[in-house]
């Protein structure tokens, strides 16, 4: 088991290292980084000065070593537009994104999984069909369209504007964007909870429990749920990528002052240092989340531990 954990951690570290290297290669070969970091109308002396400050006159391997060293020291460069460090800009935006993403994930789990379970227990009824239709709807609905519908409904029905930084402060304000962001995940959770539970309740041990006279609710909570929940853990871990991708769009639609909005703005203004930091942060988060899912499996699924 130690070997299993060690292998997983090794793989995560390698993945991160490759990502960091790829980012370096891309930035280094996309053109002159000094010219890219300097303002577009900067004279050549300024660009040379930038190049010297960034160590671009050194050999490539030294630059790479310096870049890696900078990452380990927490030095990710400075935004060309605000002069602040990329890390500071990111840290300023992170709480808003975490609140949005966290609420979205919570909504998706708390609504999606019960919906799917109810559908599985009432298989082939109208309710089941409605839940399945909802999951297809949630998958196909572009989040920018759903967000605009939310804003429009808010404006016409409730006479309020649902977007903007004013909403970022209050708990009620987070609900419309969080629902927009969590919709797709909610649909896929419902779908997978349904199929996972369906598969579990048809297993022989469930019939055995029924034959022993275990009451229905106990069969569901103690026998079926723990088994059906195992694949859902992976799914929730995997949904993180979708949530990060979705938050980029959702934050833009609701003018939510988070990391996604910062990313889009930095791309539009070619603020390479900030974009680079956000890419690395996303990769780090995703690799860490995947690792945690793998390790969580050891805790919740004794069968893997035994191997």
């Amino acid at each position: 088991m130690t070997a299993f954990i060690a292998f997983k951690i090794f793989r995560a570290v390698v993945t991160l290292l490759v990502t960091v290297t790829l980012v370096f290669v891309f930035i280094r070969f996309s053109g002159d980084p000094a010219a890219a970091l300097a303002p577009p109308d900067a004279p050549q002396e300024i660009i040379d000065q930038y190049a010297k400050a960034m160590g671009l006159d050194k050999p490539l391997w030294q630059q790479y070593a310096g870049y890696l060293g900078g990452i380990f020291r927490g030095d990710f460069g400075y935004s060309i537009h605000t002069g602040k460090s990329a890390l500071t800009l990111f840290a300023e935006r992170l709480p808003a994104t975490l609140r949005l993403g966290g609420t979205a994930l919570l909504i998706a789990i708390l609504l999606g999984i019960p919906l799917g379970s109810v559908a599985a227990l009432n298989r082939r009824t109208l309710l089941d069909r409605c839940v399945m239709a909802f999951s297809v709807f949630a998958f196909a609905m572009p989040n920018f369209l759903f967000g605009l519908i939310m804003i429009l409904t808010g404006a016409l029905v409730f006479n309020t504007y649902l977007g903007g930084s004013s909403g970022a402060g209050s708990w009620a304000g987070v609900l419309p964007p969080a629902l927009t962001l969590g919709l797709a995940a909610m649909g896929s959770f419902a779908r997978f909870a349904r199929s996972s539970l369906l598969e579990t309740i048809n297993k022989p041990f469930m019939r055995a429990a029924e034959a022993r006279g275990v009451p229905f609710l106990r069969r569901l909570v103690r026998h079926a749920a723990p088994n059906a929940a195992i694949p859902l853990v992976t799914l929730i871990g995997l949904s993180l990528g979708g949530l990060i991708a979705g938050s980029v769009v959702t934050e833009q639609v609701f003018a939510w002052p988070g990391v996604g909005q910062l990313l889009v703005r930095s791309v539009a203004t070619r603020d390479i240092a900030t974009v680079q930091f956000i890419v690395l942060a996303v990769a780090f988060t995703m690799v860490l989340a995947n690792l945690m899912v793998d390790l969580l499996y050891l805790v919740i699924d004794p069968r893997i531990r035994a191997k």
């Binding site: 793989r11 390698v14 993945t15 991160l16 490759v18 990502t19 790829l22 980012v23 891309f26 930035i27 996309s30 053109g31 890219a36 298989r123 082939r124 399945m132 297809v136 709807f137 998958f139 196909a140 609905m141 572009p142 989040n143 920018f144 369209l145 605009l148 804003i151 429009l152 404006a155 016409l156 349904r194 199929s195 369906l198 598969e199 990528g241 979708g242 990060i244 991708a245 980029v248 769009v249 833009q252 990313l263 889009v264 930095s266 791309v267 539009a268 070619r270 603020d271 390479i272 974009v275 680079q276 956000i278 890419v279 996303v282 990769a283 995703m286 690799v287 995947n290």
Partner: protein, 279 residues
């Protein structure tokens, strides 16, 4: 195998897809205007059925351009990007996956590491990263969209090839002296291509959504070209006063993604009975 009747939802979806393709191909003929023709007098006219001028069936945008023609052109771009993009990812990913399983060794290690890296970065973040550094061009955008989900194909095809290699039929053909090319192209590929086809139908709506989302953010298809997402983002500031600018492209994107995924689910049930969703 008994033939199941085609469900009504799938029939409707097929009709919508056909309608969409027809509009994309011939929609321009429905209007006397070009998609770039501006008219300062006819700015923000409502659709003809709501009392707007006869010549603008679906109304006009803030520059007085005919929405119907713009939708038709946008639909065409969206369609091309979705199909070409999904194909690039499918072919690239499948080839890499088969290569990894066929060659093992260093090639496999490298490909698996690349899969891990791609899986740790949502494609929209990769796309934004690349667009931050390179000038946006239609070709670059198409290639980026093409990267969508390649790692899923690679992972699936690698697994399928590895297990196919152990099957009796492959061992028998190898014993008969067939060349590796013949084994992979003539025998293994036809047996596992269904898996890639199923994944293709899953990916196609995702590609549509990615393209429209990036264009909506202003980082995808650039003017003078247009796409459904771009039209939506232009109409976004006039949500209350000129709702048709957002509603028509938005509804088109939604119904397109919906139809493709419904047809995809249905195809998946036909092509791969082992994956059949419990219904």
């Amino acid at each position: 195998m008994t033939r199941q009747p085609v469900p009504p939802a799938v029939k409707l979806s097929l009709c919508f897809i056909a309608f969409f393709v027809l509009i994309a191909l011939f929609g321009q003929a429905l209007s006397p205007h070009e998609f770039r023709d501006t008219s300062l007098i006819d700015r923000l006219k409502p659709p003809a059925f709501l009392g707007g001028p006869e010549q603008y069936m679906l109304g006009t945008d803030a520059k007085g351009r005919d929405l119907l023609v713009r939708l038709a052109v946008g639909a065409r771009i969206t369609l091309v990007v979705a199909i070409v993009g999904t194909l690039i990812g499918a072919v690239l990913g499948s080839l890499l996956g088969i290569l990894a399983a066929a060659r093992r060794g260093v090639a496999e290690t490298v490909i698996v590491a690349a899969i891990d890296v791609q899986a740790s970065l949502p494609i929209i973040v990769v796309a934004l990263f690349v667009l931050a550094m390179f000038d946006n061009s239609f070709t670059l955008f198409l290639l980026l969209i093409g990267l969508t989900g390649w790692e899923v194909y690679a992972r699936l095809m690698r697994g399928a090839t590895l297990s196919a290699k152990e099957h009796g039929y492959v061992i028998a053909i190898r014993a008969l002296g067939a060349s590796p090319w013949r084994i992979y192209l003539r025998h293994i590929l036809p047996n596992i291509v269904n898996i890639a086809l199923v994944q293709f139908t899953v990916n196609l709506p995702l590609t549509v959504l990615l393209e429209t989302a990036l264009s909506f953010l202003g980082l995808g298809v650039q003017p003078p070209l247009t796409s459904l997402g771009q039209i939506m983002s232009e109409g976004r500031d006039r949500l209350l006063t000129a709702w048709w600018l957002t509603v028509f492209p938005g509804a088109t994107i939604f119904f397109l993604a919906l139809s493709i995924s419904l047809v995809g689910d249905w195809l998946r049930d036909i092509l791969d009975p082992t994956l059949r969703t419990e219904a």
